[in-house]
Symmetry: C2
Subunit: 223 residues, 2 copies
Amino acid sequence: MPRKAASNESPSLSLAEQAYQELKRRILTLQLRPGLFVNERELMELLDLGRMPVHQAVHRLQAEGLIEVIPRKGLVIRPDSLQDMLTLLEARLAMEPNIAALAATRATKEQVTELKQLVTESKRIVNQSERMSFMKLDRAFHGLIAEAAGNQILADAQRPLHERSELIWHLRVMKEDGLVVNQREHTNILKAIIERDANATRKAMEEHLRSLHDRILAGSLER
Amino acid sequence: MPRKAASNESPSLSLAEQAYQELKRRILTLQLRPGLFVNERELMELLDLGRMPVHQAVHRLQAEGLIEVIPRKGLVIRPDSLQDMLTLLEARLAMEPNIAALAATRATKEQVTELKQLVTESKRIVNQSERMSFMKLDRAFHGLIAEAAGNQILADAQRPLHERSELIWHLRVMKEDGLVVNQREHTNILKAIIERDANATRKAMEEHLRSLHDRILAGSLER
């Protein structure tokens, strides 16, 4: 009875997905702050959703390392410290330059055009007060490069790292000229992709992520 | 009431984990074959587990791409074709050489000793009839290198790729001397790690995964 099974499952899957997306968004935007203790009932009230979708969402966020289950205490939003962010950027450094190199040879014309548009758009947004708009363009830029690499497994592996990278913007650890520097580095990556130069693209992405890593470290040491 | 919440959640989480592990094992060992249509009720009977843990497990396997939900038809075990395996190895090639390079500089003495033991043990298992034992050692070898890189985000990103790689062994696409070649390539990686040579380790891992990719392609073209 596959038909019956499907009609039973779809609504519940989508509520669970809804709970997952919303909880994740609140964690990554620091509305649910690292270190906060919560229980599932509180999350149900917060989201106005039932027990099962919330439970499933918690299970998935736990698997992703964003929520921790403390035996006999409940749930805690996992602290994303400076060290975590540097670890995250090290992980992206190990993966993303090679992914970008694949994108340089495989991106479709439409994808290259879209990358150009993202970079052009972000040229107007280099003030810290607009950093949330810049963040969205940044996420789209890196995400599109991962898609353009033409390997779904790589895109899937990269997506959660990009999502968690959003914390960098919310924590404001970057220096004032950060967006200008990012903008310049994105332009270098784009240029190498337009030239279909895999090695230059790998190098440009590596420089960008290393620079981001070092700027975050410097910015937080100064605070 | 965190205490109460925790005691409610733990048993159900662990049943869901049990359902997840068992379903995944059956998919990766081809007991649940690619292309097979199933519904949740059948899986409940198969595992002798309740609706909720099975539902959660399906949700998670769907997120990992091992189960597909076909609207109005039910669930289907996702076909892992030759193309999927080559995509998987391309993904590992983009990540794992850099992870191995980190491991060369960060592996503890204990981890190096353990890697040596795994390679020594696998020297005795180079016959195709023992490939399931070799598979376990292979998985442990690559998994330990990922752990030794000292970046949990990278280890977490790599683990599902190693799990899915087990299909390679079950599908028997490799030629008869495959285990001998793997054994030799693992020895090269180990040698470079022992010498703490990050570049040589990166290169040895790259050669190993590229060779695996090419041998699978050649083996399946011959069939």
